[in-house]
Symmetry: C2
Subunit: 643 residues, 2 copies
């Protein structure tokens, strides 16, 4: 099969892809962002583009009006590339200004960076969590060595070590052969004034590089969240812990499948692992280099990187075969890896710089979740707390300073897609009048909406339930209002009429989207319930529930309870912790204590495989009601619905 060149306008990105690739994949490959809540399944109708030139091989779709079809509109995910094309991404499909959640929590666990390590008093923040001493993964130190004399002619390396030890008492230092080979010349050319970069890994301290002169002010690190859908990277000054910037992009692996299972399948193909490895590394490299350029930083001065990802992402990033992750009994090859040299990973920072992965627990509870626990501090709490990470998989951790259990509940893509990067023109809050069923939408950016956020769907479903437009099984009852209608044999609810929308069509919630959402919320809730049951608790016993994942702070807790996604607890027990994956990575980058804590957290978490829990399937089925088969579990909703 030949290669075809696809040019995307107005950005001008050019993708060279094999014949047979779909247009959405081609766009993602070159960073031309097109919304696709459903991950490219043709189910959301968001990925509308206009083909300006080139042969069009596409499928018909209910999402396209006849007029749109006439003017060249296609769904990118349903269009197959068979030759060169010129493609326009129309205004309503553009994601400029779209936002991948990059806010983080966890900074309050780190002691003041300006204080010296020896000055930090072991502190306790109000929640009873220990304060980590700042000590970045890599540190630079400028050294003036005395020139050798006949009375002081110890070896160059001993001289260097002696000076390092006058700064810090490090009994065992390590240096690699390549550095030794350069040492004699470098010290003399530098007139014995050099900057050493040192770091701790695997319990020993290493000299990572030696530079001529004083470069100690230029030492940077990257904390990265490697998600199945998105990759987020923060550039951090390791001298003071300040975040210089954060950038996000789609994970280019999307080209090869929307979720971890399809990626694993792809990785099993001949050469597939290498392709996926390069795709995510390229995504990350672009984010890093863009920030380095923006902040006028040399990549060589980036000496450390900590990344947090789910277990599949970590395997793919390290180019470790993930095939056994998806097969009973779901065994990862590794849940942790030693800190490696950047050059081994293909990540373009200083080649001798260090790359560390946050440790994971099991095939479906990865380093991103350990990171989340670290950021939230559950592992040090007196009372039981829960972390729920709402993504493609809903990972759940329950624990306190004594014990921790975790599981992963497959939520599908219901909480991913557009929801994860709630753009400036999305419906994110909904109120339905219970007399006339009119809909009042809150839109991000206060403009006319072009789509619906994940949080908007949850809000809408809660309102539809409250107003009786859907029943407790989630079925849309036709006839109550013109908004509840049939279209091509499927029920749907019109959220925004075409005339009020930023597109030329009605913005609707179709029945399948509701069904999908119910399955997703059912998986999460029943997972949490089974997990609590494992340690003899009920969900009511949980003191605090931390919400992480793509929703950010947009999720309306009350309405998430109405639909039965979250347990019926007082609102003050819930807390949003943003992108806790990158938050934990940042902590580990800036504090070796935090990194050790992460290792301990991963080691302490007991993984529960829900599929092997006899009670899980029953709980899941009971959760496929709104809010639940057993309404008594949701007293506030019982009252709301007047049952």
């Amino acid at each position: 099969m030949g290669n075809c060149k696809i040019t995307f306008h107005p950005g001008g990105q050019e993708a060279v892809v094999s014949e047979g690739t779909d247009l959405l994949a081609a766009a993602i490959a070159v960073g031309a962002q097109i919304p696709n809540s459903c991950g490219g399944k043709g189910a959301c109708g968001e990925c509308k583009v206009v083909v300006r030139e080139g042969k069009v091989v596409t499928e018909s779709s209910r999402w396209l009006t006849e007029e749109e079809i006439k003017t060249g509109y296609v769904l990118a995910c349903r269009t197959t590339v068979v030759g060169d094309m010129q493609v326009e991404i129309p205004a309503e499909s553009r994601l400029e200004g779209g936002k991948i959640l990059t806010e983080t929590r966890g900074d309050e666990r780190l002691a003041d960076f300006s204080s010296k390590p020896e000055d930090v008093v072991e502190g306790i923040v109000p929640e009873g969590r220990a304060l980590f001493t700042p000590s970045a993964m890599t540190t630079k130190r400028f050294l003036r060595l005395p020139s050798p004399t006949i009375d002081d002619n110890i070896s160059d390396l001993d001289r260097l070590y002696r000076e390092i030890r006058q700064w810090r008492n490090i009994p065992q230092l390590h240096i690699d052969l390549a550095s030794i080979r350069r040492l004699g010349g470098l010290l003399r050319e530098s007139n014995w004034q050099v900057t050493v970069t040192i770091g701790q890994r695997n319990g020993i301290t290493e000299v990572i590089q030696i530079e001529s002169g004083d470069t100690s002010r230029r030492n940077y690190g990257i904390a990265a969240d490697i998600g199945t859908t998105t990759v987020v990277a923060s550039l951090i000054d390791l001298n003071n812990g300040s975040v210089l910037g954060t950038k996000a992009a789609h994970n280019r692996q999307i080209l090869y499948g929307p979720d971890v299972i399809t990626r694993i399948v792809y990785a099993e193909k001949e050469g597939g692992l290498g392709v996926l490895h390069r795709a995510v590394v390229d995504t990350l490299n672009d984010l890093i280099s863009a920030q380095a350029t923006e902040h006028r930083i040399q990549l060589n001065d980036v000496t450390a990187l900590v990344l947090a990802g789910n277990t599949t992402m970590t395997h793919l990033l390290l180019q470790v075969d993930p095939r056994h992750l998806r097969r009973d009994p779901y065994v990862p090859t590794t849940n942790f890896a030693s800190v490696i040299q950047a050059v081994e990973s293909g990540i373009k920072i200083n080649p001798r710089g260090w790359v560390a992965c946050m440790p994971g627990v099991s095939s479906y509870v990865g380093g991103d979740i350990t990171s989340g626990v670290l950021a939230s501090g559950i592992e040090e709490m007196a009372q039981p707390a829960m972390l729920i990470d709402l993504g493609t998989n809903g990972e759940i951790v329950l624990g306190n300073r004594e014990w921790m259990v975790c599981c992963s509940a497959s939520a599908g893509t219901a909480f991913e897609g557009r929801g994860a990067r709630c753009g400036p023109r999305s419906v994110q809050g909904v109120r339905i009048d219970d007399r006339n069923y009119e809909v009042v939408c809150t839109t991000t950016g206060d403009t006319t909406p072009v789509g619906i956020c994940g949080s908007g769907y949850i809000d809408a479903l809660a309102e539809l339930l409250r107003t009786g437009i859907v029943d407790r099984q989630g079925a849309i009852r036709p006839g109550i209002t013109p908004r509840a209608r049939q279209h091509n044999g499927t029920s749907e609810f019109v959220m925004v009429w075409a005339k009020e929308s930023g597109t030329s069509r009605d913005i609707v919630i179709p029945q399948p989207v509701i069904d999908n959402l119910i399955r997703a919320k059912g998986a999460i809730y029943s997972g949490a319930k089974v997990l609590a049951g494992q340690v003899g608790l009920t969900l009511q016993d949980i003191d605090k529930i931390y919400i992480g994942g793509g929703f950010g702070n947009y999720l309306n807790i009350e309405k998430a309870i109405w639909i039965g996604l979250l347990p019926d607890l007082p609102p003050e027990r819930f807390e949003f912790i943003g992108n806790s994956s990158i938050a934990g990575a940042k902590l580990a980058l800036l504090s070796q204590e935090a990194m050790r804590e992460a290792d301990e957290i991963a080691g302490r978490m007991t993984n529960i495989e829900l599929c092997a829990e006899p009670s899980y399937m029953g709980e899941y089925v009971s959760s496929l009601f709104l809010p639940h088969t057993d309404i008594n579990l949701f007293p506030s909703v019982k009252q709301l619905l007047g049952i």
Copy 2:
């Protein structure tokens, strides 16, 4: 300049060398061994070969008879290659059966290998030295892992570590990314039965390799002595500590200079360092592969190598620029290196196997001497003991369990060359009748001699002194006997007349050889005296003197005292310790305790630069007499000579 092909008979070795190379260098390059006591300076006349075919460009030499010249004899070191040649190494020049000292001491410091580490009681051998627990640098262990189930689905790596920890309690284990990448497939293909090779370096324990099935019986190591002139390697079974064999060869670096200074000069040339690095690595690789073949061992099963060499040799082997070693203030780039992977060094054992260098002290007291101290146990003795290593440099260590000092006295080539590999047809003992000056030689192998050993020269000089044939300045007195004669304006003493020799010429000791020997012995003695003075002792205070180096056990202690090489102490205070360089390397290979002890020894030794000691030059000049200017330092010799 073109390349020329030189074929050496009867061995059939073929050297391809640049035009202008000398024949001796060409021979050494391909391992065709030709004696050359003087290191290729035309001074010893030993490197006689016969050119059978090819153009001869050579210098005339007093060592060749007219008849020899007619039949094509040349000195290899004085013959320049200008085209292809067929060269025969005549019987008297062959080194077959020649012996590089490979005997070692030090085994008595190692506890019984068959005992388990935990069973070894900290023992003390009679001399008061601690016993090292056997624990080889690398160990193999066969593991049967339970197959994963849904109730036991920890990661592959955790499963492996769990099993390792059931064998040994190792809190922190390390494994490299390449091994992790292969792990998932390997475990399953092996039906969960694998052999791990683990080792400790830099204070952490690493999984070096993982093999399918049970290979635990096949684990071998190499202990090597990397000398300026010779390389010796022992193949050792790491499961029981037994030495399977020892082989020796000339260091192929001889092609680029006979001593460390000329090698350093060569290394400073463009590309020179790489050439010298490969030369010594090739020498070692040939020794290793020859033994592997002989014992039917796969190189992949050789997983550890410990080498001991002087500081220049260690730098060249690790390909570290040695240029500063020879320049005031004589600074090595490194006296130690972390354990490296074999693949980094170019040494052909298992590429993931480990290579460790014995740590050195200074530019002229290297890992070979640390090794010697380790083998002799000086560092644990109650009374002061001395180690004298008689080689190109005479390194001297003086110390006990409280303190240690060391120095290096440049002895030139007097104790090297043929002396270091006393062949089966060399004079090694001499007795001169004090009435008729007839000479009785003891010859190795009881055959007619073809040359003189280093120990033979010392014996001869002592006898020449005792009988008055040489005076106390070492000058041959002509006329006493026809053996003491003039030849081409130089005095010489005929040790073996042509008719009794295995060659067609007289075997003689020329005056320059005696002068050289006196300078060498003077350097050693005065070095030892200055060293003792540094700690407020006299040589009489030394309880034990260990003699290491090429002489092996052939050195006649009494006669070495006569000429003033060794101090005038009772014979029972001297002990030969053979090739203590390889002995220490073997200890370090077989016991991690011994390796740690070597690090401590190197750290404890205080290096004295003789050139910076004001007293040294005076002591040296005083030592250029036989036995010494101050005869009272040698009461037994005073009595012998009746002074």
